[in-house]
């Protein structure tokens, strides 16, 4: 079949003959534009910036001028604009529709946050400016710290962690530092529920601990008998997500905290699901010693296609002295930055990264908190929980909730309702794409077979939820009616059909190379 350089048929008859998906000569389809890589579009001579001509003065590079090739294509400004706008249209986004990715809290991202983060006094200040020139920046860090400590009922907070997993690292490092300072060097075992996020065990190991998994009971919560049996004098602590990854509140959380403390260990709480309880429950009242807060989840800073995040970590009285540098302190009307371990009042476990944390996320999160206030944040938690329960209640007759009873901010289903249909959780998720929805989190938590974890968040309207529920109901009925081919072929209405992930892993192509082009030419 004659193909053009993009590997597409050059005559319409060819793809009609093959019975394939209706192809176009251009590869574009109406508003959906095909777009090659910049390496196939730009050139080394082209640029989208106008800079003054260099003066060509003698250099002081010490003979280290670059000899090796750069090979970076440039595009003019209009071409750049078009390239990235076209690519953007191949993404699903919160602003397009419901994004029910459980554990990720894909809520509306207010644009006031964006505007405030771009104020020159925040966006255009350097982290190493003299203290007298950045008092307002230190104040933002201090104010946000106050909100976070008050909302969680905790006496300390480390602001510098750069994402949730970095916050976990912060909390577990503080626990390790405290244990070592108290001579508890034999405590190296950390209890982690099987249902935990993968970051929990990975973090524990990064802090020199070993991981001991606790099974879930048949209500989706920590199996208390198994937990008690694992306590011992080598236990450093427990890492527990609450509400947990099954979307359930750990009813025995206070007892878990007391038991781990009696055993000489500490309680790390994974705060990924704080959105369910913000303004309504303070983790400090439940015996938590450390908890990270994902500002990009609960406090609406944009997820940005995978970051940046921000993971301030609140700490108990016992752990706060081990908080990392740097941190801000208020001295009368002035704010000061403590940058070095030697200047710290406590015994910091170290520094987590350069500079002082994700300032651009702090300004957004503080803007969000001030907008909601303590009353609005409580409403956030209540509406988030209401929405998830509404989905669960209205779908339980066609789908199978993994556990009985009410849920928190996430509704978890298993794949029992697909039994015998030939449709898998993956197929079901891909069919949702064809219906215009981003799928829920699939196959997580691991303790539930074929898990589908739906987190609608509080920013979805009732009518929006009703439409979503109708679609899931229709899909469930279609699966049960034997329409498995439709599911297995899905998606057919997305910018690509189902992508071959196995091939990507077996024959990794992690960058563009000129030979990719040559191969295409040769194919032609």
């Amino acid at each position: 079949m004659p193909m053009n350089t993009q590997g597409r048929p050059t005559r319409m008859a060819d793809n009609i003959a093959t019975g394939g998906y209706a192809e176009t000569t251009s590869g574009s389809k109406g508003l959906e534009q095909a777009e090659p890589l910049i390496y196939e579009r730009g050139s080394a001579e082209q640029t989208g910036v106008d800079l003054p001509e260099p003066k060509c003065t003698p250099n002081r590079l010490g003979g280290l001028a670059r000899q090796s090739e750069l090979g970076l294509p440039g595009l003019s400004e209009p071409e750049t604009m078009r390239h990235y706008v076209r690519l953007s249209r191949k993404n699903y986004a919160i602003d397009l529709g419901l994004y029910p990715l459980g554990s990720c809290t894909m809520k509306h991202n207010p644009r006031l946050n964006e505007k405030m983060a771009r104020l020159p006094g925040f966006a255009d200040v350097h982290p190493m400016q003299p203290a007298s020139t950045v008092q307002g920046a230190y104040q933002v860090i201090g104010e946000l710290a106050h909100w976070l400590m008050t909302l969680t009922g905790m006496p300390g907070v480390a602001m510098s962690p750069k994402a949730g997993a970095h916050g976990e690292f912060c909390g577990m490092m503080a626990i390790r530092a405290k244990l070592d300072a108290d001579g508890q060097t034999h405590r190296r075992r950390v209890l982690v529920p099987e249902s935990a996020h993968g970051t929990n065990p990975a973090t524990a190991v990064q802090c020199g601990f070993t991981v001991d998994e606790i099974p879930a009971d048949d209500t989706g919560r920590v199996d208390m008998e198994a937990f008690k049996a694992k306590l011992g004098d080598d236990v450093a602590g427990i890492m527990l997500t609450n509400p947990n990854t099954c979307g359930l509140f750990e009813r025995d959380i206070r007892e878990i905290a007391d038991l781990i403390h009696e055993a000489g260990g500490y309680f790390y709480c994974d705060g990924a699901n704080f959105n369910a309880i913000v303004g309504r429950v303070r983790p400090g009242d439940l015996g938590v010693d450390a908890m990270h807060i994902n500002l990009h989840k609960t406090f609406s800073t944009p997820h940005g296609g995978g970051g940046p995040g921000s993971g301030p970590t609140v700490l108990s009285e016992a752990l706060a002295p081990h908080a990392p540098v740097p941190y801000v302190v208020q001295n009368g009307n002035d704010w000061e930055l403590v940058e070095h371990e030697a200047d710290a009042a406590g015994e910091p476990f170290g520094r987590m990264a350069a500079f002082h944390g994700q300032m651009g996320m702090f300004t957004r999160a503080l803007t969000y908190m001030m907008s909601h206030g303590s009353d609005g944040l409580k409403q956030v938690a209540e509406d988030a929980v209401l929405n998830a329960n509404y989905i669960q209640a209205r779908l339980k007759h066609v789908m199978t909730p993994a556990f009985d009873g009410v849920c928190m901010h996430e509704a978890l289903f298993d794949d029992r309702f697909l039994e015998g249909t030939g449709v898998t959780t993956l197929d079901f998720a891909k069919a949702m794409i064809d219906e215009g929805y981003h799928p829920m989190t699939m196959y997580f938590p691991l303790v539930v077979h074929g898990a589908m974890l739906i987190e609608p968040t509080e920013t979805e309207s009732k009518s929006g939820l009703d439409r979503f529920i109708d679609v899931l109901e229709a899909l469930s009925l279609a699966a049960k009616a034997g329409e498995k081919e439709r599911f297995q072929a899905a998606p057919v209405h997305a910018p690509t059909k189902r992508l071959d992930e196995t091939r990507a892993a077996r024959q990794p192509v992690l960058r563009w190379t000129p030979s990719t082009d040559d191969e295409l030419q040769a194919a032609e």
């Binding site: 440039g74 020159p120 006094g121 997993a165 303070r282 350069a354 907008s371 690509t496 091939r503």
Partner: protein, 447 residues
């Protein structure tokens, strides 16, 4: 509340559909200890206008880089960012998407990540790059741990002139592992002492060029020495623009290149968010030990090219306690900003920008060197250098801030108790001849 769509009628209807009487019935699993009466003691909700006023009041207490002659660097640099960049990263489809777990509806993010990875590999002279780390310092720390896994050796040697925050972040990550980090004496000298510190137990040697003092280093001798002992070379950088003008780490024998990408597309943001760049040689041992996400090319069911996240068996969500790193969310939107700015620049623009940076720094060095008692300490630099002052650098910086010049970073702020008369000064394309003249005059007046 303007972000919450439900009316009270909606809430009532939904509670009815669930079959409970009140919202409290959905929180039944919260134990008594966690139940609060009333609201938490914090301010109540406010309209946009009120919030904007409060935030602006805090913002206006800060002196922004664009408002004064500005020469602060030491790991973060002020550059001009084309307006197109900020417009594009605020496209809803980029801004409000998450990690591309469903590749069929995330090709925008995935293709830009593939472009980003290629750009980073090209810049550093490496074969592959990942989809970003939090920042340069954490990328450096992860590289040290990766080198230990690859070589199965537990000793890392870091040059004393690597940015101290990078050293501290690496020590923190290694603190409770089996990896020991040795740091050589800081200073502007060459890398000879580093060569002597390499032995048969050394997993890696970490060098930075331009280093924290702005001094440039040829990495070829150290690479040879390290490779002769079976150790890897990690080349760090804090100013990615330098790669438009000075030799790439990959061309000087480095095995892993890590650095800060903030200069391109991201902006100052008071230290974060930034974007960590992480690249290495194409060696199967390396790629399987890389931290972070990787976008890769594949085909869809019709055989057409598409992109997915790949090799995730290295990562925490699959490998859990055996993962190469605990990183999950990275610097997605900042890597997009980097890619767009780099696409606008292209090879031609980047080279030109780098030359202007260097020339501006040369003019500044000439001006400062002409002041009595002030001495430029570098014999080779890119856009940042160290000067010795006849006075305490901290005091000089504070005095200059009072007259509206942000002069640089006192080296003692990074090395407490050391280099008290040394100032780190950076110049970029934003600095005009007039800025330099004002700095020159102001510095004379406070010395």
């Amino acid at each position: 509340m303007r972000y919450l769509p439900h009316t009270d009628t909606d809430r009532k209807d939904m509670l009815d559909a669930i079959g409970v009487a009140s919202i409290d019935d959905l929180f039944v699993d919260v134990p008594d200890a966690g139940r609060l009466d009333g609201l938490i003691d914090l301010p109540l909700k406010q309209g946009e206008l009120q919030v904007e006023r409060a935030m602006s009041a805090m913002s206006s207490k800060n002196v922004s880089a664009s408002s004064v002659p500005f020469f602060v660097g030491a790991g973060a640099y002020k550059h001009h960012i084309p307006s197109t960049v900020d417009h594009l990263i605020q496209r809803s489809e980029f801004l409000t998407a998450y990690t591309p777990y469903q590749p069929e509806i995330s090709q925008g993010t995935l293709q830009t990540l593939f472009e980003f990875q290629t750009q980073v590999a090209q810049l550093t002279g490496m074969d592959v790059a990942n989809a970003s780390m939090y920042d340069g310092s954490t990328a450096c720390a992860e590289a040290v741990m990766m080198a230990a896994r690859v070589t199965r050796r537990m000793k890392a040697v870091m040059a004393g002139n690597v940015h101290p925050h990078y050293v501290e972040a690496s020590k923190t990550l290694a603190k409770y592992s089996d990896v020991e980090i040795e740091v050589t004496e800081p200073g502007l000298g060459g890398l000879e002492t580093l060569i002597n510190a390499i032995d048969d137990e050394t997993a890696c040697v970490v060098v930075q060029t331009p280093d924290v003092f702005g001094q440039l280093h040829d990495l070829r001798a150290i690479s040879e020495a390290a490779h002769a002992k079976g150790a890897l070379v990690i080349a760090a950088f804090t100013e990615v623009v330098s790669l438009g003008l000075i030799e790439a780490p990959g061309a000087m024998g480095a095995d892993i290149a890590v650095g800060e990408g903030q200069s391109i597309g991201v902006g100052l943001n008071f230290g974060g968010p930034y974007v960590g760049l992480f690249a290495c040689k194409d060696d199967r041992r390396f790629i399987r030990q890389m931290p972070g996400r990787l976008a890769g090319e594949t085909v869809d069911a019709d055989g057409r090219r598409g992109f997915v996240l790949t090799l995730s068996t290295r990562e925490q969500h699959i490998r859990r306690d055996k993962a190469t790193s605990n990183i999950c969310t990275n610097a997605g939107l900042c890597s997009l900003a980097f890619t767009i700015h780099m696409t606008l620049l292209g090879e031609k623009g980047l080279k030109q920008m780098a030359v202007i940076n260097h020339e501006t720094a040369c003019s500044l060095a000439d001006a400062l060197d002409g002041i009595d008692g002030v001495e430029v300490l570098n014999d080779a630099f890119f856009n940042e250098f160290a000067v010795r002052l006849p006075k305490n650098a901290n005091e000089v910086v504070d005095a200059l801030a009072k007259v509206g010049v942000l002069a640089g970073v006192p080296a003692s702020r990074l090395f407490p108790g050391q280099f008290e008369d040394v100032l780190l000064v950076a110049a970029t394309e934003i600095n005009t001849d007039e800025d330099i003249a004002i700095f020159d005059k102001a510095l004379r007046s406070v010395l």
